[in-house]
């Protein structure tokens, strides 16, 4: 009870909970679930962009894209590390991903069908991710908050790169412009879904807010995102594919059309365009690499033995 009181005090004062601090089991579980899902999203998220590395249309763009996907692997790594401070290990979390017991962001179940998708993912998907993640930098759990600071910094760099890809395409040849518009058409609605279900049907929001994990509601963040994108789309010279998008003087926000939540639910359920391919690639890489990881362990064990013998 004293420990609970101390925890509550830290949360109330907006101070950080650290790994060695006591925490309620629900808090720990919520964090593990959220951080793991976030980590999984980073590594599955490497695939849609990885799909265009070998075809990047200039060496400069190729270098930027490889570096970006590499950053995502890095984000995955430090998010798994943050989760490990809560007493789980990466191997278990990966196992939960591979067996479908933990999820990753549904946005990565859409295919990348043209180079412009590299732009749309940077601009819209990373843009939405940042919108979601910036508040997490102040998350009550220290290691997660600090990981998010680094992640957000790199993500906002990625978002600018995505914007620049689209800008170049939009102002390039007619075929390039069309490619850019098509990518935005395909990624706009899925990006809006990245903020999760509407507030009235979001299960975790209230408790997470009380624990200082979540600081804004899904709908608040979604609105902020829409407002930002409308302005940027104008600069890009691209249309957002929503006829209902209009400025609401009273709300001082853009109104937007209804979201097809049945689509999101279908994709979450596993029937998105790429769910099966994403999992096949991930599980395949893990399975094919087992002998390599085993070799590394065996070598390390032998090596450790020898040092012991020598000592």
């Amino acid at each position: 009870a004293a420990r609970q009181a101390e925890f509550d005090r830290l949360i109330a004062q907006d101070q950080r909970i650290e790994p060695r601090d006591w925490m309620p089991e629900g808090y720990r579980k919520t964090l593990i679930r959220q951080i793991a899902q976030h980590a999984h999203s980073e590594i599955i998220g490497m695939q849609p962009e990885g799909n265009w590395i070998t075809r990047a249309p200039s060496l400069r763009r190729k270098a930027i894209l490889i570096a970006k996907v590499q950053d995502e692997a890095g984000h995955g790594l430090y998010l798994y590390s943050a989760a490990e401070t809560l007493g789980v290990d990466r191997e278990d979390l990966l196992d939960q991903l591979h067996t479908g017991r933990q999820k990753y962001s549904s946005i990565f179940n859409y295919p990348t069908l043209s180079w412009a998708d590299m732009g749309a993912i940077g601009w819209l998907v990373d843009g939405a991710a940042i919108m979601n993640q910036v508040p997490l930098c102040r998350c009550s759990y220290g290691p997660y908050g600090r990981a998010m600071v680094r992640v957000c910094k790199e993500e906002s760099f990625h978002q600018r790169q995505g914007f620049e890809i689209l800008h170049t395409l939009s102002h390039g040849s007619p075929a390039q412009h069309e490619m850019a518009q098509d990518a935005v058409n395909r990624f706009w609605w899925p990006s809006l879904m990245m903020f999760g279900p509407p507030d009235e049907s979001s299960a975790h929001t209230v408790q997470s807010a009380a624990w200082g994990i979540k600081r804004f509601s899904n709908d608040e963040l979604r609105q902020r995102f829409v407002d930002m994108c409308v302005d940027q789309a104008r600069i890009l010279g691209l249309r957002l594919p929503d006829p209902d998008l209009t400025w609401n003087e009273q709300r001082q926000h853009y109104d937007f059309g209804p979201i097809d939540w049945s689509e999101l639910n279908r994709v979450i359920r596993g029937d998105g365009p790429c769910n099966a391919d994403r999992m096949a690639r991930r599980v395949g890489a893990h399975t094919d690499g087992a002998w390599v990881r085993e070799a590394a362990s065996a070598y390390a064990a032998k090596h450790a033995d020898r040092s012991v013998v020598a000592a």
Binding site: G50, V69, G289
Partner: protein, 250 residues
């Protein structure tokens, strides 16, 4: 100028093609750390390729950019050594290829770093530090796989056998005889690099409990545009988008 451009393009193609092969690993590596490490090596090599191809374009003096050279040449115009174009195979093959190549490139760049060509010397001086890391990364994995499990030992040994036929091409001065003649003191005689290369590799293989394969006089001719059948498919994928939209900016 033609000879210098030709020589530099060969070095650039080595880096470009191997960078591409390593990038193919991304999202397929045995562990996340290796996704990152292979991406890192890929990026270093891509950076070297860009510097080299840009320089070659300048030397040619016909306004060709790094992208013109990378995306608009055919398979017969690429002059990388064959080693870098062979498919990734399993992780052991990738490591064997990297060990052989990075140890070679380390010697080559070390020699070029003292070359009278200022651009090449500057590139080499910078790149040799990157390559030192690549070489070490490959050596560490060679140890782990060679001296790991029975299976990994067998695969690593098989990987050496599979990649060794491409070694002779690296060190044969006849492969770049024209360059050596035309660029005295600039083009490095690859025969002179073999000693250092062996000195690095042998202890690694020995410590990894692996057997150095016999030298084999397999096919060569990458520097003259003679390749394995694998390069064409790599270039088809690599150049597809660029060629589909001629003359635009990206």
């Amino acid at each position: 100028a033609d000879a210098l451009a030709r020589y530099v393009i060969g070095l650039g193609d080595d880096a470009l093609v191997l960078s591409h092969r390593l990038a193919e690993w991304i999202t397929r590596a045995p562990q996340l750390e290796e996704d990152m490490a292979l991406a890192n090596i890929s990026l270093d090599l891509l950076g070297q390729a860009r510097t080299l191809l840009t320089y070659a374009g300048q030397v040619q003096g016909q306004g060709r950019s790094e992208d013109d050279l990378a995306y608009l040449r055919s398979e017969r115009e690429f002059t990388n050594v064959q080693l870098v174009e062979i498919p990734n195979g399993d992780f052991a093959v990738t490591i064997a290829r990297q060990l052989i190549f990075s140890a070679y490139q380390f010697e080559l760049y070390s020699a070029l770093a003292g070359a009278p060509d200022a651009t090449l010397a500057a590139l080499a001086a910078k790149a040799v530090k990157e390559v030192d890391y690549h070489r070490d990364h490959a050596a560490q994995w060679t140890l782990r796989l060679g001296d790991g499990t029975e299976l990994s030992h067998a695969r690593m040994q098989a990987a050496l056998e599979a990649t060794w036929p491409y070694v002779e091409e690296l060190f044969d001065p006849a492969e770049i005889a024209d360059d050596l003649l035309a660029l005295p003191g600039i083009a490095v005689d690859p025969g002179t690099l073999r000693g250092g290369w062996s000195d690095y590799l042998r202890p690694v293989l020995a410590q990894a409990t692996l057997t150095e394969p016999q030298p084999i006089r397999r096919s060569r001719g990458g520097r003259r545009g003679l390749h394995t059948e694998h390069l064409g498919h790599l270039l088809a994928d690599m150049q597809s988008l660029h060629r589909a939209h001629p003359g635009v900016r990206w």
